[in-house]
Amino acid sequence: MAPAVETMPAPVSSARSSCLAVVPAYNEAGTIEGVVGALHSKTPQLDVVVIDDGSTDDTAARAQAAGARVLKLPFNLGIGGAVQAGFKYADDHDYDFMVQVDGDGQHDPGEISKLFAALDGPEQADMICGSRFATATGYIAPISRRTGIHVFAFLLSRLLHQPVTDPTSGFRLYNRRAISLFARDYPHDYPEVEAVLMLHHHRLTMREVPVQMYQRGGGVSSLNGSGKSFYYMVKVLLALFVGLGRRRAVPRPGEAAPVAADHGI
């Protein structure tokens, strides 16, 4: 673990700190070039890696043509497995920071600077989360999702003893400690809410900053139909409550995160 984490003020422009943008994409051929292009033009100091989560269209080829590095997963792992591949890439290549940006054009790369600006705040944070609800923004989520978001926001705020307004947001900035934790252990499907709790359990901290988000630029959300939303609610609630009773190592700040799944074949 790099001891520099505590002292790193980490402006994006600093030549010493390296940052990786991870773009998970599943069948986003329509939007991926735009997202990669926007990342290159608005945040040229970021390395961009697109995680092609077993797409059946030419997402990977278009991302490559747009100048991104591409990790091609051999089959669809779901958002959790795809993003974790990004964490592993960042961990393998010793990036100081990783920012996660959706491949569907929902997140504006121009807002990444807001995430970095929050790193310089009074309290150090290991994860900065772009929130649609921290202040009034134009975003209106579908009603079936909105209920879930507020339920999770309520629960997490109680559990963490700090306000959490948008726990399902995938627009996030992580430092080295968060990267190494999530490279080892990251929830399977619908990971965002659980990741917040995991972070808390490992004595890492998170903070939210208000951001704008767009409606999806194209493709199909992994959460379509109220049946899936219901499954999502129940699955994440189960994960939250079971997670509370899980025995876990509590590392001191600065220590490497423990490995969760350590069993052989």
Partner: protein, 136 residues
């Protein structure tokens, strides 16, 4: 328990036991998964043969007819086996996830290395020859 039913239960349990052993012999079933199957067929066989034990068990559980106790025990084993498989499946899907991620990372690294090599070979004609040879 009626003798005919007892006979069917004994024969069924023996066939199951032999089938499981045969699968292990043919390496179609790993020992670790066979153990639960062996345990369940042995227990069912024992209860089918040893009538008094089955009757005693039925009385203890408040089951009026002894054959139902046999079904009860068998159902318990079925549930246990299913849970065991769900756990095994979870572990397998976790492992295949790790493999898929590792494979994607390695593939990306390989293509990067190949690009580097091609670039080096393009700039330096002497480097081109070993590259071509190794590609055969």
């Amino acid at each position: 328990m009626e003798t005919r039913l007892q006979l069917v239960a004994i024969v069924g349990a023996i066939l199951l036991l032999l089938f499981v052993l045969e699968l292990v012999r043919r390496r179609a079933l790993m020992e670790r998964y066979a153990l639960l199957w062996l345990a369940s067929s042995v227990v069912i066989l024992a209860l089918a043969v040893w009538k008094d034990a089955l009757n005693g068990l039925a009385r203890q559980l408040g089951i009026l007819s002894a054959p139902n106790a046999l079904f009860f025990v068998a159902l318990g084993f079925v549930l246990l086996l299913l849970l065991h498989f769900s756990a095994a499946l979870s572990r397998l899907s976790d492992q295949s996830k790790v493999l898929a991620q590792r494979q994607a990372l390695l593939e990306q690294r390989l293509s990067e290395v190949e690009r580097e090599r091609a670039r080096a070979a393009g700039e330096d004609p002497r480097g081109l020859e070993p590259l071509l040879r190794s590609d055969h």
